[in-house]
């Protein structure tokens, strides 16, 4: 009954581990891929008011114009990129839908898409659902999990239709400076490749300023589908609002699919997102808190022997267990059963990551502190 390509979708390999964690709600979970903050009150209040005022209809397939205008202004202000709210911006149901629409809009069956590993789990699956073929560009620990330009040159020779970039990235927290992005673009610009740039963690960048891929140059902007949203920086995961920006032709095609498949994102969430654009102070307070936790947790993980590179953004540490004779899944199982702390084993994010775990610091300092004590305890008794 089920389509072949859906049947063939690779299972995550840690399904059982996930089920185990879901059955133990009393654990301290560092396995959560979303903010621990509740959406700032002014945004929630706006959503409540929207319901009270009777905003319960569909919106245009492109999303509320006011929100598109707000997104356009924000991108202009933050990155000096100019997207026309009328034709070059589409409001999506989270970045996830933006990615799905982008892939469906550009892929013919068998088209190749480069996914940079370690990757966010949805990328390969969504490519395959859209009948594309995944080519993995595997980054290395010794390169700090950043794209190696020589490897990129090799992969480009395979004539991919698109590449998915994600920075700051899940699960590594790795990001790129303007110069590094220029070097990447130098290679990509010579080919006819669409860049799908998932910048959903842009607000959670802690050192250098985030550089938007479309801001590199005119040609880069024309070839980029910029994906972003409100889930992470604004702590609005459950509202499900994102946006896609790109060339008129691409946004047109994505909107066309949207007009049949989803129609639009929830109007209440879109109104809340318009308010979120004004909540700069709330965003920067949350960023400051993540930054503080990052400093604490990275130092502590390294101290107990889990080698962890300082992540430049997002709220994840990708820590190495190589000093210890245990693979990540066994370690995660032991940590869960014996110490009641949950982390995500690396194999969820790509091949060859069996000695890494993803630790999310979207959790209170008290919990992070307690977790480090328990992790240290386990490591000492391995």
């Amino acid at each position: 009954m089920i389509a072949k390509r859906i049947k063939q979708l690779a299972p995550s390999g840690i399904r059982e581990f996930f089920d185990l964690v879901l059955g133990m709600p009393e654990v301290i979970s560092l396995g959560v891929g979303e903010p621990d903050f509740v959406t700032p009150w002014r945004i929630r209040e706006k959503a409540i008011t929207a319901i009270e005022e009777g905003f319960t209809s569909y919106t245009s397939n492109s999303g509320l114009f006011g929100l598109r205008k707000g997104v356009s202004n924000l991108l202009k202000k933050k990155y000096a990129v100019d997207y026309c709210p009328d034709k070059e911006i589409l409001i999506t149901v989270g970045v996830s839908q933006g990615l799905d629409l982008a892939l469906r809009a550009i892929l013919n069956p068998g088209d190749k898409v480069v996914v940079v590993s370690p990757y966010y789990v949805a990328y390969p699956a969504l490519v395959e659902i859209s009948s594309g073929e995944v080519i993995y560009l595997t980054t290395r620990e010794e390169d700090g999990f950043k794209i190696n330009l020589e490897d990129l040159k090799e992969v480009v020779k395979l004539k991919p239709k698109a590449i998915i970039l994600n920075y700051p990235g899940n699960p590594t927290g790795v990001s790129y400076s303007a110069l590094e992005l220029k070097n990447i673009w130098n290679i990509l610009s010579k080919e006819d490749i669409v860049v799908i740039s998932d910048e959903t963690y842009d607000e959670l960048t802690y050192n250098d300023k985030h550089t938007c891929f479309s801001s590199l140059d005119k040609k880069a902007k024309a070839r980029t589908i910029l994906l972003n949203g409100f889930s992470k920086g604004y702590a609005m995961t459950g509202f499900r609002v994102g946006f896609a920006c790109g060339d008129k032709e691409i946004i047109d095609a994505m909107t066309k699919i949207n007009s049949f498949a989803m129609l639009c994102g929830p109007i209440i969430s879109q109104i809340a997102a318009s308010e979120a654009l004004l909540a700069r102070k709330e965003v920067s307070l949350m960023r400051a808190e993540y930054r503080r936790r990052r400093g604490f947790v990275v130092k502590e993980l390294n101290r107990v022997g889990l080698v962890t590179v300082m992540p430049e953004g997002a709220f994840y540490c990708f820590s190495s267990l190589k000093k210890f004779k245990i693979n990540a899944l066994d370690f995660a199982n032991k940590l869960l059963m014996e110490k009641k702390v949950a982390v995500v084993p690396g194999k969820a994010f790509g091949k060859g990551l069996d000695s890494f775990i993803r630790i999310s610091y979207a959790n209170s300092l008290e919990n992070l502190k307690e977790s480090v004590i328990r992790i240290e305890d386990l490591l000492n008794n391995l």
Partner: protein, 160 residues
């Protein structure tokens, strides 16, 4: 070193070792800074916020009291205020702009205790022109912390 104040304000029991980890500063610098804050009166005291509503017995009562007073030559409100805030029943005392002058937070073991403080000690003072006492019925939020059942953290324990 202002972030030390922020950490302490949030958790007065935070250890110096944790402050070292959180701020990346030297232990002796942190200790010296805290000492100097204490000496200068920037750190006034270390206290615990207690949700007394959760303790069934011995809750006591609290009241907010608006006080109108007559300012005096040269010293303004200060000396009258001092006469008032010296009473141990007065937990906090603020001078405000608006329709009255002083706002007091008063605690007592029951309504009678507070009432007699107002009628026997506060109101009879020469320079007090009038008082209005408001008894507190319920505390929803104190020092930035919501005290009533706040539902939180409905996240799934594990997600990508």
């Amino acid at each position: 070193m202002e972030d030390i104040l922020e950490f302490l304000e949030n958790n007065a029991r935070i250890s110096v070792e944790d402050l070292v980890k959180l701020t990346g500063k030297e232990k002796k610098d942190i200790q010296r800074t805290i000492k100097s804050y204490e000496k200068k009166g920037i750190i006034v005291k270390y206290r615990t916020v207690i949700n007394r509503q959760k303790i069934k017995a011995d809750q006591g009562v609290s009241a907010l009291i608006e006080v109108k007073i007559t300012p005096q030559k040269d010293v303004g409100f200060d000396s009258v205020a001092e006469r008032i805030y010296r009473f141990p029943e007065v937990k906090s005392c603020y001078l405000l702009s608006g329709t009255y002058d002083l706002l007091l937070f008063v605690e007592g073991k029951d309504i009678q205790t507070v009432a007699s403080f107002v009628s026997e000690k506060l109101a009879p003072l020469n320079l007090v022109k009038g008082t209005a006492t408001h008894f507190m019925l319920k505390k929803y939020k104190e020092d930035g912390v919501v005290l009533v059942n706040e539902s939180r953290n409905k996240r799934l324990p594990i997600t990508y």
